[in-house]
């Protein structure tokens, strides 16, 4: 505080105004964040049906045992893990590559970023809808794949085959988000002081050497952040899988956890078990965020 210490009553008045300004926040987050998360934990111990008038019964860890012992849940874990792993590698590699290429250009930087970013502007439902037609047996995906591989007239069953359905959802995701993560990398690279790079040029370091010895180590906070963001995004994927299954794609291979939670709650009306999965998802994401905080002690928290 600068200047003279304000009078006591004035200070008290100011502190009241402080409370008044944050009051809507306290009210909102209590009702729509803290109460629901506690409720999710609580419901995970109940035998509760959606819209049932019967009083829910407390069943202890019964729901957890049921979920952890069910094949359906582990299938969802597998579907989510395969999706996350399959999307992570190309997303990370491509967005880093594009970012480095964009940054090294002298012209059209902004246009390139906008072009790469454009799919991220679309709604996920729109993205899924476009790809639904591309993956049609008579659609572009087959034509393109057959052209590239020189196999005319073959149907690759993009939406019908179990493995291909997984590949298809990953493709949609990589396409939609590659530009988004490119922008994050571009920003991260922009934060690296140019003087370091210039010194390396004077010392005779080549571009490849500079990338591995300077850019990559200094980019670590960004790489960790982007990695965790990609993983968390992938864990939350829902729209593509939901729309594809609505159009007849097999549920099993793309029954990701969020879709399972939705179906368990809405179709099976089993809120207890849906809550168990919600809680597990939350804990896993918490673990990821914690890992990120540990590995990237970033001192640039303020914008």
């Amino acid at each position: 505080m600068k200047g003279k210490r304000p009078a006591r009553s004035l200070e008290k008045d100011r502190s009241r105004w402080g409370w008044a300004f944050v009051a809507p926040g306290i009210l909102f987050f209590s009702l729509f964040s803290f109460y629901p998360i506690l409720n999710a934990f609580y419901t995970s111990f109940l035998n509760k049906k959606l819209l049932s008038l019967k009083a829910p019964k407390f069943v202890g860890i019964d729901n957890y045992l049921r979920v952890l012992g069910s094949q359906d849940f582990w299938n969802s874990v597998k579907a989510t893990a395969l999706f996350a792993a399959g999307a992570f590698v190309p997303l990370f590699a491509l967005s880093l590559l594009f970012a480095i290429l964009v940054v090294s250009r002298k012209r059209f930087k902004r246009s390139l970023q906008m072009a790469l970013y454009s799919p991220a502007v679309l709604s996920s439902a729109v993205a899924a809808l476009i790809w639904l037609l591309i993956f049609d047996p008579r659609g572009l995906a087959n034509q393109f794949a057959n052209f590239v591989m020189g196999t005319p007239g073959i149907d690759h069953k993009w939406l019908a085959d179990a493995t291909m359905a997984r590949v298809s959802t990953i493709l949609v995701y990589v396409w939609k988000y590659v530009g988004y993560f490119t922008i994050l990398f571009v920003t991260g690279i922009g934060k690296i002081p140019q003087s370091v790079n210039e010194a390396a040029v004077i010392d005779g370091a080549g571009p490849v050497q500079r990338f591995f010895r300077i850019t990559l180590p200094l980019l670590k906070p960004t790489t960790v952040l982007v990695s965790v963001m990609i993983l968390i995004q992938c864990l939350k994927t829902f729209s593509t899988q939901y729309l594809f299954t609505q159009r007849g794609a097999p549920l099993g291979p793309i029954n990701v956890v969020t879709l399972n939670i939705y179906n368990t709650a809405l179709r099976d009306q089993n809120l207890g078990r849906a809550s168990v999965m919600s809680v597990l998802l939350f804990l896993f994401m918490l673990l990821l965020s914690w890992a990120q905080l540990r590995y990237s002690r970033s001192d640039e928290a303020d914008l």
């Binding site: 300004f21 987050f29 729509f32 964040s33 659609g139 914008l303």
Partner: protein
């Protein structure tokens, strides 16, 4: 500037080749990324037979504008899409507005006032960023059911009135707001609400714009929540309509792409006019997660 250093370096054949390779990769990447968008626009003007033709022609022979009419009229001709577009606009615009107002209120309180427990409030709000929506959607749905707000705008809007990231963004922005101006206004007898309204809020333009666009886009994209809360057709939003439209076996492929194109008009209009808030906003959003 890397551009300057590159200019000073002697031009070698290797550098030219590297530059050519970089341009090729970037051009190929950008083009590939845009292909599905071009497909959407082209196919939205084609009859189904042309969309599924092998080999595919990118340009429609005769633009079939009737697809757009059918997209709006729907498969059963009840023009529900129009209503659902209106719903999406109402919900997204309202949420963008309340998010900006409420986040700056709370952010201002946290940035410029001293009171006991302030840090706890701030940390508490920040902690909610860790809660994925998927985890709380069922309890939220039960709240909405208990409040009898299913199939209502209130129900669609309530859980998104503001968000922790918005509070964070506005707080960071307002921390740098000069105290002298606030104190001068107080000495002149200006009331605290009025200081907020006509001095603080009126001057939070760039941060507010970033936040408004972010909130608008998130809601425009929101599928899960309307799927839960809006059971009646009249209360659905665009993403929920798209799912329903696509699931109908009789859906015309051209009309489908017209539905998609119409749904993308507002976000692309924002993207082209305010692209700096899109690109910058993503960066700012990630900074909040650091």
């Amino acid at each position: 500037m890397s551009a300057a250093t590159a200019k000073r370096a002697p031009v070698k054949a290797g550098a030219v080749a590297a530059s050519a390779l970089a341009w090729t990769l970037l051009a190929a990447g950008s083009l590939l990324v845009m292909v599905p968008l071009a497909f959407m626009l082209g196919a939205s003007l084609m009859p189904p037979a042309e969309i599924m033709k092998m080999p595919y022609d990118w340009i429609p022979k005769v633009p079939k504008w009737a697809n757009y009419l059918q997209a709006l009229a729907g498969n059963d001709g009840n023009w529900m899409y129009l209503r659902n577009i209106l719903n999406s606009l109402i919900v997204s615009v309202t949420i963008a507005t309340t998010t900006v107002i409420l986040s700056s209120l709370v952010g201002y309180g946290l940035a410029k006032f001293e009171f006991r427990g302030k840090n706890a409030v701030f940390m508490g709000i920040m902690a909610t960023m860790m809660i994925p929506f998927e985890t709380v959607m069922i309890p939220l749905y039960l709240i909405i059911v208990r409040l009898r707000m299913q199939d209502s705008y209130l129900g669609l809007i309530a859980p998104f009135l503001m968000n922790a990231f918005g509070v964070f963004l506005m707080r960071q922005y307002l921390l740098t707001f000069p105290n002298e101006i606030l104190d001068a206004a107080r000495i002149d007898g200006c009331s605290e609400p009025r200081i907020f309204r006509s001095i603080v809020f009126a001057n939070s333009g760039p941060a507010a714009a970033t936040l408004a666009i972010l909130a608008f886009r998130q809601q425009w994209d929101n599928l899960l929540w309307p799927l839960l809360v809006a059971q009646r057709e009249e209360m659905k939003t665009i993403p929920a309509y798209i799912v329903k439209f696509a699931a109908e076996k009789s859906a015309d492929e051209g009309a489908m792409m017209a539905v998609a194109a119409i749904a993308s008009i507002p976000v692309f209009a924002l993207f082209f006019t305010l692209s700096k808030y899109f690109l910058g906003g993503s960066a700012v959003y990630s900074a909040g997660k650091e």
